[in-house]
């Protein structure tokens, strides 16, 4: 009765082998590497780039331990960190900023393992060190930005059609256009309706003014929000590329949140600064019709705002935005003809056209270049337009240092955020703590396992040893499964491994106690083993399902580290059911199942009450 059909043995042996195979990569260490990937997602790393990287390294006599072309980019493995750092600098200067050159760690597991996608477990930030940010997109900011854009467009349309209006401005979530009479308003309303599908129009008369209230349609609002998050993600990706991070994770979390994970980043201040900044440019005309001094006394006018030029005096700037930073293709720090730090900007084709027309129409007038950072607007420079500028090349000089020029260029190049973002959660773990956490988690599991193994073997003898073997298989399968799934392993996840070990033994204790129980009641050894396993299974199932319910709920409602705990807990329960019941039974059957006359079950002393039987 204690025999398994061949297929069951095959399943057990097969799963153990599979577990071994996929656990294997975790035993190889990691070596320093450099990862080269194209800065733009559209570009792909190819053999051409591979050859270039190889040549560059050879020319500079940098010893290489291996070079691989993968989907994400090219990875080069080095002997030590010194060579790694040297290679990074060489590659970065040789390849320029079209490519991201990032430091990385590469598993030392042999290629054939990588080919069957046997990879080491994916370690969470608390184990490898790095930064985790949760950013909240400020939708109000996104809305006002988009309304500002509409204001500018409506203003342009009305001017083009020569429809006169008294005033135009944004108030909260609506734009209000004021007219002198109703006919003008109707004309304007028709014109706006014709050109802008996304806008709702409502007429409103206040005293003797005729207002047209413009709001965004519901579906347009939703589209705007979605695209704001998407654009921010794209922008963040560009900025992270500038930071040079090997395996960044940037993804949407919920309706208006973005998760950014940067493994291995040490300079968190820089990371935060670059991520959090919302720098963009605005090009506007200087208002030369109105008097600055009267504006300084508080007598402003509706069309312009008062600013102070960097390193200069106050000046009035028209509200109408001619060109924004969205049109920037590239921005590089450099120097102007007088050897002053400057930022060279390259506009896209649309931007070039607008800029060309703008400069042609306004020769002799001043334009203002505003840098907007964290809702602070500053006029960097307000040069006089001397001639029409074709080709979309703009050079910004002003009172700036080379460092400032470099930062501005970086921020402009990385693109503008569609809406401001706030960091609402941050978890940073230094690399030394990460390594310590791995040790701690590992030791917890190791010593827990050892203690249980010793106890079980003493208490249940051979059957205890079989239980421990099953427990070992459980650990193997769990780690193998985690490696296959590439689930993120966190410190709470490692705690869950240790806890699973402690809980998994429950099944074997149940079985062993049942067998003892049956023996105590005078059942023959073979029957006792059989009944013990059969009876215990129902209980094991019930007991594990309740824990599984807890694990699933934790996974559903938990965040970050708790999710890591839940994943390991759930997987651990599944593997433990398999190993405790099937694997240990297979071993028992192999050892004892064939013996016709099994006199004694080596499961430790079975004590029988001597006096009065129940």
């Amino acid at each position: 009765m204690n025999r398994y059909p061949l297929w069951k043995y095959l399943i057990v042996v097969g799963s153990v082998l599979l577990g071994l195979l996929y656990t294997l990569p975790n035993f190889y260490g990691e070596s320093p590497a450099v990862q080269i990937s194209p800065a733009r997602t559209a570009d792909k790393a190819d053999t051409l780039l591979l050859a270039r990287v190889e040549d560059t390294l050879r020319e500079n006599n940098v010893p290489v331990n291996g070079i691989f072309l993968e989907a994400v980019g090219i990875k080069v493995r080095f002997e030590d960190t010194d060579t790694q750092l040297k290679a990074k600098d060489i590659l970065q200067s040789a390849l320029g900023n079209k490519y991201v050159v990032a430091l990385n760690l590469l598993s030392d597991s042999p290629q054939w393992l990588t080919d069957i996608s046997a990879l080491p477990m994916y370690l969470g930030l608390d184990l490898r060190g790095g930064v985790h940010f949760l950013l909240q997109v400020d939708m109000k900011g996104a809305l006002s930005k988009s309304l500002d854009r509409y204001s500018a467009d409506i203003r342009g349309s009305l001017r083009e059609e020569k429809i006169r209006y008294k005033g135009l401005g944004r108030e909260g979530s609506q734009i209000i256009v004021k007219f002198r009479n109703a006919e003008l308003r109707t004309k304007a309303s028709d014109e706006i309706k014709k050109n802008y599908d996304d806008l709702n129009l409502r007429e409103q008369d206040i005293e003797d003014e005729f207002h047209l209230v413009v709001t965004l349609k519901k579906e347009a609002l939703k589209r705007m929000k979605d695209s704001a998050v998407q654009q921010n993600i794209t922008t963040l990706r560009n900025r992270v590329n500038e930071l040079g991070v090997a395996e960044p994770i940037i993804q949407q979390a919920g309706a208006d949140r973005v998760v950014v994970q940067l493994p291995g980043v040490q300079d968190t201040a820089k990371a935060k600064d670059i991520l959090g900044r919302t720098a963009t440019l605005e090009l506007r005309m200087v208002d030369e019709e109105h008097d600055v001094s009267s504006a300084l006394r508080g007598q402003g006018n509706f069309d312009s705002e008062l600013y102070t030029e960097r390193g200069g005096g106050p000046l009035l700037v028209k509200k109408q935005v001619m060109l924004t930073g969205d049109r920037i293709n590239d921005a590089q720090p450099g120097f102007d003809n007088n050897n002053q730090p400057a930022v060279h900007i390259n506009l896209d084709s649309n931007g070039s056209r607008i800029f060309k027309q703008l400069t042609r129409d306004n020769v002799g007038k001043r334009m203002a270049i505003l840098l907007i950072e964290k809702n602070q607007k500053e006029v960097i420079t307000a040069p006089v337009i001397r001639e029409e500028i074709p080709g979309g090349r703009v050079q910004i000089t002003g009172n700036m240092t080379t460092v400032e020029a470099r930062d501005i260029a970086l921020l402009l190049r990385a693109g503008a955020l569609a809406a401001p973002m706030d960091i609402i959660e941050e978890r940073t773990v230094g690399p030394s703590l990460g390594a310590e956490n791995i040790d701690r988690g590992f030791n917890s599991t190791l010593f827990g396992f050892a203690a249980i193994a010793i106890f079980m073997t003493i208490y249940y003898l051979i059957f205890g040893f079989i239980s421990v073997t099953a427990l070992g298989v459980n650990l193997l399968l769990l780690i193998g499964l985690l490696s296959i799934l590439q689930a993120t392993l966190t410190l709470p996840g490692m705690a869950a491994i240790a806890l699973t070990i402690g809980m998994a033994i429950d099944a074997n204790v149940l079985i062993n106690e049942r067998i003892r129980d049956e023996l105590r009641n005078g059942v023959t050894p073979q029957a006792a083993i059989n009944v013990g396993y059969e009876r215990a299974f129902g209980t094991i199932l019930d007991a594990n399902i309740t824990t599984l319910i807890a694990g699933i709920a934790l996974f559903a409602f938990g965040s970050g580290p708790v999710k890591g705990f839940a994943v390991v807990l759930c997987l651990g329960i599944l593997t433990s059911m398999f190993s405790a019941v099937m694997v240990s039974r297979a071993i028992v059957n192999q050892l004892y199942g064939r013996r016709r006359k099994l006199e004694h079950v080596p499961i430790g002393q079975v004590w029988r009450p001597t006096s009065d039987k129940r």
Partner: protein, 311 residues
């Protein structure tokens, strides 16, 4: 070796009066501390900033406090964390400072004072995230409870489900009571431990209930109390050994897991100890109190018999 040698069934059910009193008393004490002292909620739930910094030598806490006071953060709490060279700094949420930059300001001030200082960990949680985590935590607790009741009601009978969940929520409240009394930090990981314990100690009740069901079938003439007593006595050995083993793993975490897993392991320890107690001396009396009878399990019994008939 055999630890447990019971000649007779232990009359657990006749102790019902005392055990219920004890449970009720500990429960009330736990609730009392929860109300008067409250939980020392970690930064995960309250929002704010926690920083762990490491020095090469023993850290001078007063000097760290002084440095912080200089940059206007005298309300920061500074304490050792694990070893004498590691310092944990807690900064309350400040609406006027961009909280994301707070840690940078502190770090640069500390670095100016002593450049050997090393940033080990920063956790910043915005207030709205904290609120959500509290909400999700409560929701998870609710879902786990309902899920377990539903499963036990399906597998056994609703009385068992209710009894098990009361017994285990009693454990949860006691764990929380300990955390309130000692003002241990209640973090997200501790919450995970509490929920894991909820699932785990239900195991215990399940094992006992399983035996009760079996005994109802076997011991036709015995009274309900006798049936339950026998079930508990006969699973006693397994109960102690299993929990002992789990506790070994948890102890290993407590000793080798470092400060990060300390409270996690502590919560598990309390949960395991009270889990044994409540499964034996709380869940079963409640089942009796709810008036479980042989007839309750008759329907299930038939199905079981069919299953048994198979080899």
């Amino acid at each position: 070796m055999e630890f447990f040698r019971f000649k007779h069934d232990i009359p657990f059910m006749s102790w019902g009066k005392y055990t219920t009193t004890i449970s009720l008393a500990t429960f009330i004490v736990a609730v009392f501390f929860l109300i008067t002292k409250g939980l020392n909620l970690g930064v995960d739930f309250t929002g704010g900033t926690v920083m762990e910094v490491g020095y090469t030598q023993s850290a001078d806490l007063n000097r760290v406090r002084g440095t912080l006071a200089k940059i206007g953060m005298s309300d920061a709490s500074v304490q050792n964390f694990g070893t004498s060279s590691d310092v944990l700094i807690r900064l309350p949420a400040k609406p006027e400072v961009s909280s994301a930059q707070l840690s940078e300001i502190v770090m640069s001030a500390l670095r100016q004072d002593d450049n050997t200082v090393e940033m080990r960990r920063v956790e910043f949680v915005g207030p709205q995230v904290g609120e959500e985590l509290v909400e999700n935590g409560a929701l998870a607790l609710l879902v786990v409870s309902l899920g377990i009741i539903a499963y036990l009601a399906f597998r056994f009978e609703w009385k068992f489900g209710v009894a098990a969940i009361i017994a285990n929520l009693h454990d949860v409240v006691i764990i929380l009571g300990f955390f309130a009394f000692f003002q241990w930090e209640f973090s997200l990981t501790v919450l995970a431990a509490v929920l894991a314990i909820l699932g785990y100690s239900v195991n215990e009740s399940v094992v006992v209930f399983d035996r009760i069901r079996e005994n109802f079938r076997k011991m036709r003439k015995a009274s309900v109390a006798q049936v339950i007593d026998n079930a508990i006595t006969r699973t006693m050995s397994r109960t102690i050994i299993t929990h002992g083993c789990t506790q070994m793993a948890v102890c290993s975490m407590l000793f080798f897991g470092g400060e990060a897993l300390h409270y996690f392991a502590l919560a598990l320890t309390i949960g395991i100890l009270f889990g044994i107690y409540s499964a034996v001396l709380v869940a079963s009396p409640i089942v009796m109190l709810l008036g479980v009878s042989r007839e309750d399990l008759v329907k299930i019994e038939k199905k079981e018999k069919e299953a048994e008939a198979l080899p």
